[in-house]
Each structure stands twice: as structure tokens, then as C-alpha cells.
Symmetry: C2
Subunit: 333 residues, 2 copies
DNA sequence: AAGATGATGGCAAGCGATTGCCAAATGTTG
DNA sequence: CAACATTTGGCAATCGCTTGCCATCATCTT
């Protein structure tokens, strides 16, 4: 609170008997200054308790050593892993991590980007809700990396939902299910599209029926309506857009006295916190969320670097695997 | 990525036929410039797509319009509400929100503060792990607000654990329990101390026995050892340091075939995501977490303002209430 | 009508670093 | 040993905005 006149490069310079530029270089461009000089400067700086002012540095250099991650909603545990992975990677690189929530709105997302643009070196967009065109547009002005969303020409880190969805179909098929119903998330959600396409294709291959219902809000609260709709559909297996929805469904089914997995099986996506202790424990598609966050930051980090002359944007696809718990079982009958 | 020479105050000034200072004031100090002039400047700015550079602004003014929140670990759902409340409040005030994780370490926490000091106007410390002295020390240099931690002379927002703990004791007493065991979180945790003290006092008042065991890691994984220890203690009711631990305990008890709440009752703290759908659903102390986050930011916001001349630091205590679910029942026998 | 008051706008000096360019010192080479 | 290349350090401009101070000018006051 008190402002005891922070020490600056000039203070250090005077004390060390060199120019301010040398002090600056001692910190940010070591090879540009003699090793012994540097050592001396560093010692003086240490003694004076000097800390470079990141703002001043950023203003001149244009690099903020900061990046922002935009997430639709923190209440969705699905994002924990990703957030944490991203934060860890950033932190390890000495980079400040800004977290913003977009409230599931494309507009908010866009505004956040515009607002933060000057303060950060890049953005990690997790499950971005923005339309493709808007995103491509923004990408020409800003440094973006997507998580769980792919757009031509933009770098991204995604968990393999296609393979995952096939794993789900295989699992259900092997249990004798002849039809499944996919309870979809938001229709403009890229993930929802991916998942449905793969489920549909997989089901077709195996001669299973597949229907899609929805959209449903991808939250626990959405499970009520979703479960009821699924029951009417007559399918013996429910694939929910995500675990939140799946848990809501499980709940509603329990309320209605429907036995899971006796009468109907339920599968989710994400393997969120809680998926293992809900009742019954949820069979769900797990993936290295943390890794995805880390990868996205990695992309941002290397992108700016001189070595990383990117001809084509990096795309990382991470393997997913099905975690089988108690919510799936043999088809009834 | 291309840098099309961002428009500056000077560009706007030239175009609007005023001085740069006027442009600046039109944005940051409206009352200092004539209303019509201002309107004109704003229009020109709009037309030119001008966006003030927050870094430049911060460098000169010393105000960054940014604040940081430090949280021990994002994997703990307990913090969601608080984070979200803080972010919302900050966002509403047009303030950039930085989120940092401290990995449950006091050192990391301190380092983060030092590192971010120049880039933010203040810190929200959630469940800070730092010793009191260190914190007081830091508070003389930085703008701090605590969440779920109280320290003399520092502003804070906490959820009323004392009253909450009494509610727990009352509830258990009314079910006929004669003794409880508190499975403690980290011993240096302020919250753990608070909770135990209140439980102990409450139990004494009602002639109940109360013992403390632990510390246990306040995570689901800590529940195994905790449950076993609790069983040995012979108490008919377990009060876990938090819901994470409680859920772990529930799990272990189920494994061991102990009936909850038939043989033993379990209570947690926080009412985290999942507390309502674990089996059995957890009786737990709920509180307005989001409100706590909001309040902490509020404190930071008003602190700097001229109106908010603080004689004594603000302390907000938010009411808690017990949510009774299925993990508590009449004492056996 | 003259001096006092307040509202407005401009000037210019910073904020604290970075960095292009130059010069001196040092090292290399034939 | 001269000519040239490399290191190393300093100068000073610059990033974009804020703000103290001063000059005007319109508005009051008596």
C-alpha cells in the first residue's frame, strides 16, 4: 500500500556503475553482456531487491509474458483438468495465467478476447462457442490455440472423440445392445457434432440403431428431461453428451425407478470428478484433459518463438479411453 | 499476428482535432472534459477502432485494473463457487482476473504474490496456507483480501464455520449421538482449527464426546485411512474436514460393509459438487461460496477508492446452513 | 464593469523498461 | 603489425497513456 519507490533499472545501473541498458540486458538478453558484468549486475540487483516491472517491459517489447484461457463455465468440472494443465505449463514457463469465463456465450468470448488482447501474448480457447468464421477472423489478429475444437488452419489440442465414440459403440454392442440414443449437447457445439457423427457412423457399421435427441443443457439439471425423452425412445442404451448430463439422467432414472444398468445402460463423456462415485458409478469416456491444456499452452509458447516457424498449424490429438463402471450392462431381454 | 499499427490516443487526437490529453481524459476522467467534446472524441475513437492500451495506462497511473486470486488447488471443487463469484464481480467491474494455483504450498503462494505484485492491484487469497506473520508482512506491501481465513487487521470474507459446526453438533445430538470424531484436515489449516474448536465447544455444551483424529489429506484419497481410524474410535458420528474427505470416507465404509447412516453417520463441510449424488447423499455444511468470492473482490475494489477510507479492515462473515441428506441418521442402539 | 471563480483544453514531463545504432575495446588473421 | 571482425557497453529514442500545471475563456458577484 505504501509506495516506497520501487527500485528501477536506473537504480541498479547507478549502483553497479553501468548503464541502464546493460542492466536490462543482464536480465532479458544474457548473451548480449559479458558474463562477469552480468554477474555483478545481478548481484547488485539482488541486493537492492530489484524486480523488473513487467508492464514497462511489455509496453516496449510488445511481449507480455502472459496468456489467457477462456472457458465457458467453471462450474463444469470437465474443465478442471484442462485449466490445471494449462496453468501448470504456463507457470513453469514463468508466464502469467489469466482465466476468463465466457458464460457459454460467443459474444462474451469475443469481447473478452478484444478486451484482453493488448495484455496477453495469446489465448487458449477451451470448447469455444464461437462460430468458425468469427474464430478464423480473430485468429488473424490474435494468437489462438483451441482445446476440444478443431478449425481448419488453426492450432488445436483435442481429445479423440471419434475413436472414443467408437469405443462406446463397441462396448455397447458387445453387451448386446441393438440401439442407442444420443442425448445431445448444444447444437452449435462442435463437440456435440463430433460425438454424434462418430456414434452414428459406428452404430451404422455394427448394424445398431442410433438416434439423436436434444439439445439438452449439458448440466445435471438437464438430465430430467433428457432421461424422460430417452425412455420414450425405447433404446436400451443412452449416450449422454457429457457426464454432467449423464449424472442428471442417472438421477432421474433412479427417481422413476428404472434400473441401471438392468433396464437401460448409460454412458457419459469426460470422466469428470464425481463420475466414479455417483450411483451407479458411470461408464464414461476418459481422456488426458490436463495434457490437452498443457499442449495448447505449448503451442502458444512455441508459436511465438523463432525456431517455431510454423508452416502449418499444430494439431494435437490425444487418445481417449473408455472407463467401464457400473452404469452399463447387458442389454435387457 | 500481423501488426497493423494499433491506433493510439494521438491518432484519435489528431482526427478529432484535440490534444492527446483530452482523449485520455475523455476515457478515464469524463468529468474533466466538456460533455460535447467528449462525445465527439468518443465517436472518433469508435470510428477509428481505438482501444486504450491497458499496459501503457497502468505503467503511468499505477493502476492495473487487474487482480489476482490465489487458490491452493483447482482440483478441489470447493473453490469453484468462490472463484466464480470473484471472477463475476471482477468482470462486472471491468477488471481483469488472474487465477493462480499455489499447489497447497505457502512458498508458492508467496512467490506468486511477489511475481504478480506489479501487474495487479490486489490479491484475493483463498484458504491461504501462509503463516499469519508472513501474511501480515505481505499485507503491508500489497493489497490483500482473505477468503476463509481470518487474520487480525486484514480484511476477509469467511463462511461462518463456528455457527455451522454448532449446527452439526445440534443435528447429531438431536439424532441421539453421544460422541463424534472429527477427522481433521491439515493441522496448519486455519479452517481445520476453527472447525475443531467449534465442534469441540459445541459437543462439550451438549455433553457429547468429541475427539479429533488426523491430519488427513483433505482429498477423496484421504478417506480410506480416515474411515478406518474413525471406526476404531468407536464414535457413532464422523465429521470430516471437508466433503472430499467425507466422500472418500463414505466410499471406504461402503467397501468395509459399514452401513451409513445405520451404523455410523457422516457429515462433511462445503456442500461441493457431488455431495448430493454420492451414495448415500452427504449431509454437509453449505454456505454461499460464490458470495464469499464476490465479497472479497468487493473489498479490494472499495479499498482503493477514495470513499472507502478504511479505519478498520472489512470483515464479512457469511451465514452457513446445514444441508441434511442421507448420510446422517439416528444413533445406533 | 472589474475582479473572482470555475470549467476546459493543451503542453510536456514522466512511468520503467527495451533496443537500434554507434564506438571503444578486444581478438583474429595473413 | 595493419586490417578486419567480434564483443561489449552506452546513448537516446521509444512504447502509449496519464497528469500536474498553466493559459483561456465564459460565467458570476457585487
Amino acid at each position: 500500500m505504501s509506495t516506497p519507490k520501487r527500485t528501477t533499472v536506473y537504480d541498479v545501473a547507478r549502483e553497479a556503475g553501468v548503464a541502464a541498458s546493460t542492466v536490462s540486458r543482464a536480465f532479458s538478453n544474457p548473451r548480449r553482456v559479458n558474463a562477469t558484468t552480468r554477474q555483478h549486475v545481478l548481484e547488485v540487483a539482488e541486493r537492492l531487491g530489484y524486480r523488473p516491472n513487467p508492464l514497462a517491459s511489455a509496453l516496449q517489447s510488445g511481449h507480455t509474458a502472459t496468456l489467457a484461457m477462456l472457458v465457458p463455465d467453471i462450474a463444469n468440472p470437465h474443465f478442471f483438468g484442462t485449466i490445471r494443465g494449462a496453468e501448470r505449463r504456463a507457470s513453469a514457463a514463468g508466464i502469467t495465467f489469466i482465466l476468463g469465463f465466457t458464460e457459454e456465450s460467443a459474444d462474451t468470448e469475443r469481447n473478452q478476447i478484444e478486451r484482453l488482447a493488448r495484455s496477453v501474448d495469446g489465448f487458449v480457447l477451451a470448447s469455444s462457442r464461437m462460430p468458425e468464421a468469427t474464430t478464423v477472423d480473430l485468429a488473424s489478429e490474435h494468437n489462438l490455440a483451441l482445446v476440444n475444437r478443431e478449425i481448419d488452419g488453426l492450432p488445436s489440442a483435442v481429445i479423440d472423440n471419434a475413436s472414443g465414440s467408437h469405443q462406446i459403440v463397441d462396448h455397447l454392442a458387445s453387451l448386446g445392445h441393438r440401439s442407442l440414443v444420443y442425448l445431445s449437447g448444444p447444437h452449435h457445439s462442435w463437440l456435440a457434432g463430433q460425438r454424434w457423427r462418430a456414434l452414428h457412423a459406428g452404430a451404422a457399421q455394427r448394424g445398431m440403431g442410433a438416434r439423436r435427441l436434444g439439445p439438452f443443457p449439458p448440466q445435471v439439471a438437464g438430465g430430467g428431461a433428457a432421461a424422460d425423452a430417452a425412455l420414450v425412445s425405447g433404446a436400451s442404451a443412452i449416450v449422454a453428451h457429457n457426464d454432467l448430463l449423464a449424472i442428471g439422467i442417472l438421477r432421474r432414472l433412479a427417481e422413476r425407478g428404472v434400473d441401471v444398468p438392468g433396464e437401460i445402460s448409460v454412458v457419459g463423456y469426460d470422466d469428470i470428478f464425481g463420475a466414479d462415485f455417483c450411483a451407479p458409478a458411470l461408464t464414461t469416456l476418459a481422456g488426458p484433459q490436463e495434457e490437452a491444456g498443457r499442449a495448447a499452452v505449448e503451442i502458444l509458447l512455441t508459436k511465438g518463438s523463432p525456431t517455431g516457424v510454423q508452416d502449418s498449424p499444430r494439431r494435437v490429438v490425444l487418445p481417449s479411453h473408455l472407463v467401464i463402471r457400473d452404469s452399463t450392462g447387458p442389454a435387457p431381454g
